[in-house]
Symmetry: C2
Subunit: 334 residues, 2 copies
Amino acid sequence: MASGLVVGVVGVTGAVGQTTVKLLEERKFPVRELRAFASARSVGKTVTFKGESIRVEAAGPDSFKGVELALFSAGSQQSKELAPHAVRAGAIVIDKSNAFRMDPQVPLVVPEINPHAVRGHRGILACPNCTTIVTVMPLKPLHDAGRLRRVVATSYQAVSGAGVNGVEELRSQTLAWARGEGITPRYFQHQIAFNVIPHIDKFADNGYTGEEIKLVNEVRKILELPDLPISPTTVRVPVFTAHSVAVNAETEARLGRERAREVLAGFPGLKLWDEPADNRYPMPVLVEGQDDCYVGRIREDLSMPNALNFWVVGDQLRKGAALNGIQIAELLIR
Amino acid sequence: MASGLVVGVVGVTGAVGQTTVKLLEERKFPVRELRAFASARSVGKTVTFKGESIRVEAAGPDSFKGVELALFSAGSQQSKELAPHAVRAGAIVIDKSNAFRMDPQVPLVVPEINPHAVRGHRGILACPNCTTIVTVMPLKPLHDAGRLRRVVATSYQAVSGAGVNGVEELRSQTLAWARGEGITPRYFQHQIAFNVIPHIDKFADNGYTGEEIKLVNEVRKILELPDLPISPTTVRVPVFTAHSVAVNAETEARLGRERAREVLAGFPGLKLWDEPADNRYPMPVLVEGQDDCYVGRIREDLSMPNALNFWVVGDQLRKGAALNGIQIAELLIR
């Protein structure tokens, strides 16, 4: 272990993959050798790690010989196909896709919240969806302090949550507007520049989107509260990076604003920005590039005695994806 | 009445004032003479009404002689100062500012919801805040069908809700970004391009903003439910026109999705866009310029038996302000 691990990053050219490589370097993760995997069409590209240029290899069933840790962010289909091969080749897989999250044999881990869940893994560990992570971070200390009874979560999600294509779509639509040209949606279902789209992932028969259903199921699994009532609405907004969530949380015990501020401020990975008199509260442009999630606008719910409203913002490429994945790996090698 | 009224529009150069003039023409409101009022610095400008150019006059205490109907959208301070003068001069005032909304002697009217409230007015009638109108429109039929028990409302508000300065701020910040330049906030507290700001109006001591408090108080007054529990979060988003609100509404009677769709679709001023399988739901870019409010994403709340989630979008310059004001006037002259 002294000399580090052979680490494979699968989906290395994507938004989360690029952030993963940057964070492995930033956090001085013990990497002996970095291997960069992507789809066949990215072969020939390079990624830079610690000043070295690394050639991108095509990810295939036989790619993982010698890889000890594989960080997957290539999409559910690729994870389903390739992760079992990586495990058979001897790697531990940390998967950021939706492929294995709800598999009862796969731990779904936010290291600040349920580090014990990594025990007994069978080679694959899953990283929650970005919106789940940003939402569940403040819910955990509030639950520990007052026991959650119900949560209403309403999101404002950045385009980079949909990957580099999402970023390019907002960028190109905005530039077209600036040139006075018309806007044609290519990647999202509708125009995203100067618009909000209440639709992320596919619709289920009950009218909820996949993103909303993931939020409910994953928060329940992470908090080990399989019946926690959660009412979700997820919305895409024209922001490049960092997801915001407006949360209404009802607890069994009355917490009040001061106690809520105290328990939120004391939780690792959370920071309080809650000085309204100074116009200080979290926002995407301030949180982009930050590792922590930021909570503010903490208010007692005037409509119900034991409830709170708050606003949480997290860089969904960092804590919402790449960072959380690396933190899981750090737990494993500790 | 056959030959129409002398109508004064106060704040005629603002976003709502401009829309008011456009709608008076569009709706063939019986205008005998239009008088255009604004602050002293706008004197010399002109507005166009039915192909005629009308010179802007400075609004002052002595401006209202002969005015029969005064539509105010010049801000609370101006309304407080000038509306009583207009009433003394014989005009009926329909005020779109916050100045008189919660005055028990002033009717606060959404014509589809509480037309009876206009009776007994003493010269001034108030138009609710834009976010209130968009939110309360679907709440009324749901209340009539199932009696509301609690509402959680989370908004996505367009910059034109803050007037022409808000529009100019988003436009100029976005153009600066397109030129590769830095962005300096001038009008909003923080950058609005590619950001969301959970702060509209001033903060009160309890951590809520004026916008959030208005939403609670005004919805209660309009629905004549002075104790209705409402939990509000209001957020500015980089959208030019049309406010969106994600609403969680709990009712005494279980409505269910189909019944909710039915009562919403049947309410005047509301339209249903709720075909998720066809990616059809309301969004700001589709609703801008429309008179009706649009409801979609109607779902039973999986976290609570008698609750619903839905998404409502309305052009806040039209139904959220100018149109609602003219509709009140239409009620009065009917």
